[in-house]
């Protein structure tokens, strides 16, 4: 009890700043689904100093790399790929030790972030794109890498989120396409010589697939996090502007607006093409359906190509986003996102080594190797993939794709209301009713 007397209000708040990250626990349902709950950066209050200082400048020197660092991320499935790269790094810097601190993605927000702030893990660390990265930047937890010129090694259009006010603070590393992946064999059988780029030809493709006795789209409508990926594509060409979701959250646009209702009606049109009882399907069964050839498309994203292969699929896999526009009017043909951004911690005691690892990861050969091993794209320039799935679909990198709009929402309840309306429409609710219910929740959230 004496313990509590020692707390001053300011101190409690500081400490709670660390603490609160814990409540967010599994709050983020998937990549980028992060939200809120971030401290003020010097939360443990014990070191006093770092809050006031500007985080380090460009004095990083990878050639000084030596000693032990921690690399914090949530990509359990990348463990081996990273371990291999760390071994290769050691050939250049024999005195370097890198420990991977991997926390499952659902818990990353809570567990790892609190520790990163305290400097116990994560000399080099990953952040979810969106709210989490923004908070890390606001909390001055990222070293300014501008002077190192490392950003030049990346595709500028794909890493903009980490570049703030002309400063390089973090580098979005892994690139995914949040759009349905396709079984090209089935598409070919259905007579799709070219990918449809307008809504009518899209629907007629779905019809011909159904004519083959195959479910056109496997959609994990049972889980908000995964079901919402399709929302990205459905909204990309309908929003009055590219920041439509941010504007919904600001109260500037409403989900009862015509354009949103139009999107909901498109969802309605898709109902016969989803698997039976689609609103009850979790992501794993949807994957299984796609992998076994029972469904022609899986409405999640490119990140599921590798796991589909792990389920035994041998057919060629492509991608196809539903384009909701009339012929010739589509602005975007797909959606991309960077699942995580890498940055050097400003509370690290060994930033040189952390930077050395980041620099190494930014090498096209190493980045390509990572891409091949994990079957995911990277944002690094001039990378050549030997992985067949990647090289087969790498033309998407050059296509006109929108940065995934669902992650513009910072308020989790608002995002769920908007995306939930889509699921409810598939479940049988009328678009008007679903939109009205969702807007009520959004209004209540905005009002507070």
């Amino acid at each position: 009890m004496a313990l509590n007397n020692a707390f001053t209000r300011r101190r409690i708040l500081q400490l709670a700043g660390v603490g609160v990250a814990g409540t967010t626990l599994a709050a983020c349902a998937g990549p980028g689904a992060s939200n809120g709950g971030d401290g003020d950066g010097n939360g443990n209050g014990g070191d006093g100093g770092n809050g006031g200082e500007e985080p380090g400048s460009g004095s990083l020197d990878p050639s000084l790399a030596a000693g032990a660092i921690s690399f914090a991320h949530w990509r359990g499935e990348d463990n081996e790929a990273f371990a291999k790269i760390i071994e290769q790094l050691k050939e250049t810097y024999p005195d370097v030790e890198v420990r991977q601190d991997i926390t499952p993605s659902n818990d990353y927000q809570s567990n790892a972030l609190a520790q990163i702030r305290q400097g116990t893990v994560g000399d080099l660390f990953a952040s979810f794109r969106g709210a989490q990265l923004t908070t890390m930047i606001d909390a001055d937890l990222l070293v300014d890498l501008t002077d190192t010129g490392i950003a030049d090694k990346y595709e500028a259009s794909l890493v903009s989120e980490g570049l703030v006010d002309g400063k390089t603070l973090a580098l979005p590393y892994q690139l995914v396409f949040n759009q349905p992946i396709t079984n090209e064999e089935i598409l070919e059988q259905a007579g799709a010589s070219e990918l449809p780029e307008d809504w009518d030809s899209y629907l007629s493709l779905l019809d011909s697939i159904q004519g083959l006795g195959i479910t056109p789209i496997a959609w994990p409508g049972g889980e908000m996090g995964n079901a919402g990926q399709l929302f990205n594509c459905m909204i990309m060409n309908l929003g009055p502007s590219d920041d439509m979701c941010a504007r919904i959250e600001a109260g500037d646009l409403k989900v009862t607006d015509d354009w949103f209702l139009e999107m909901l009606r498109h969802y309605q049109e898709l109902i016969p093409y989803f698997q039976q009882n689609a609103t009850g399907t979790a992501v794993e069964p949807a994957q299984q359906m796609f992998a076994s050839g029972d469904a022609a498309m899986l409405a999640t994203g490119s990140y599921h190509i590798a796991s589909t292969r792990a389920l035994g699929a041998t057919f060629p896999i492509g991608m196809l986003a539903p384009v909701t526009a009339a012929a010739g009017e589509a602005k975007y043909v797909g959606v991309h996102n960077a699942t995580f951004a890498l940055g050097v911690s400003s509370v690290s005691e060994n930033p040189d080594t952390a930077f050395a690892l980041l620099d190494f990861l930014s090498d096209p050969a190493i980045a390509g190797q990572y891409g091949d091993d994990t079957a995911q794209f990277v944002t690094v320039k001039d990378v050549e993939y030997t992985n067949e799935d990647l090289s087969h679909t790498s033309d998407w990198v050059q296509k006109e794709t929108l940065l995934a709009p669902r992650f513009q929402f910072n308020n989790l309840d608002i995002r769920n209301a908007a995306e939930g309306a889509c699921i409810e429409v598939v479940g049988g609710k009328s678009p008007e009713q679903a939109a009205e219910d969702a807007q009520q929740i959004i209004d209540q959230q905005i009002g507070n």
Binding site: A27, N106, G222, Q276, T279, P285, D413, Q444
Partner: protein
């Protein structure tokens, strides 16, 4: 006379000393409980009057605004309370019923009774996470066992995908999970009912049901109230089961009070979430009193 008073005084002193020692026995529990449980709870109470977002250094005192908001202007919260009450009613009714029925069948030893008791208790042993995984698999509309079984009757369901019934499917899982645990409490209660009383009633010509209604049911009142109190608390704390089955965050059709509080915390509305947590405690305590009252009416107390 003087000697008497002295003895009395000594006895009183000894008594007082004894009571002090007995009080000391509760001190370790109280000390730990107050330091690490009550004080944190009081801090939450304090935050419930603020608009603290959970991380910034400043906040405003907002009085009872958070409570007003939860009660009058938050359909997500109202929805979670409604879902939770539906969930609780179904779980309370069926879990108590099944637990009692199984206990009545199994409290006497016969061949295989120990094995069956063990089997029925088994789900309790599993963690909520495991139970959620198992049932998520069962409820899958395309591959799951659920529709295989319904298929026998020529019907199918989207289970958790149907917003009107999802919460009831979760209630079924909860009953599967915990009925066996409650069964053991009833078994214990039934075993304590004196056999002679039952036999005497039977001799008087009372049927099985009448014996149960007039003798057994009143006699197991303490067990019933433990079961109901425990079940009530469990149905409000069925937090990891819901997140496991419904995903995180759950769809609003499967959101209950504890998951709502959790999401509100995650949504950087710390003060508001604390207010919701306080309402949560009030609801549980009130429901427990209500249940106790209602059950008490059907079970006149037979022992002190």
């Amino acid at each position: 006379m003087a000697g008497m008073t002295k003895t009395k005084r000594r006895a009183r002193r000894a008594y007082r000393k004894e009571r002090l020692v007995l009080l000391a026995f509760t001190v370790p529990a109280l000390a730990l409980y107050i330091s690490f449980f009550i004080i944190p709870a009081l801090q939450s109470l304090q935050y419930s009057l603020t608009n603290w977002n959970g991380y910034s250094a400043t906040f405003d005192w907002v009085g009872l605004d958070n409570f007003t908001r939860a009660l009058t202007n938050d359909s997500l919260f109202t929805n979670a309370v409604t879902n939770n009450l539906k969930f609780w009613l179904i779980v309370l009714a069926f879990q108590t019923l099944f637990a009692l029925m199984l206990a009545v069948f199994l409290f006497r030893n016969f061949k295989g009774s120990a094995l069956l008791r063990g089997l029925f208790f088994f789900p309790t042993i599993l963690s909520s996470v495991s139970v959620a995984y198992i049932w998520k698999f069962i409820y899958d509309p395309n591959y799951g066992l659920g529709n295989d079984i319904l298929g026998i009757f020529g019907i199918s369901s989207s289970f958790l995908g149907n917003d009107d019934t999802a919460i009831y499917w979760i209630a079924i899982t909860q009953v599967w999970f915990h009925a066996g645990q409650m069964m053991t409490i009833f078994i214990a209660g039934l075993q304590s009912v004196p056999q002679e009383m039952i036999e005497a009633a039977a001799v008087d010509g009372a049927g099985r049901w009448q014996v149960f209604k007039n003798v057994t049911w009143p006699m197991i009142a303490p067990a019933t109230s433990i079961v109901m109190a425990y079940t009530t608390i469990q149905s409000f704390k069925a937090f990891d089961l819901i997140l496991g089955l419904a995903g995180n965050p759950p769809k609003s059709s499967m959101d209950i009070m504890s998951t709502r509080i959790y999401t509100t915390f995650a949504n950087s509305q710390y003060g508001y979430a604390s207010a919701q947590a306080i309402l949560f405690v009030i609801v549980i305590v009130a429901l427990n009193f209500a249940v106790r009252r209602i059950v008490g009416l059907t079970q006149p107390k037979t022992e002190s």
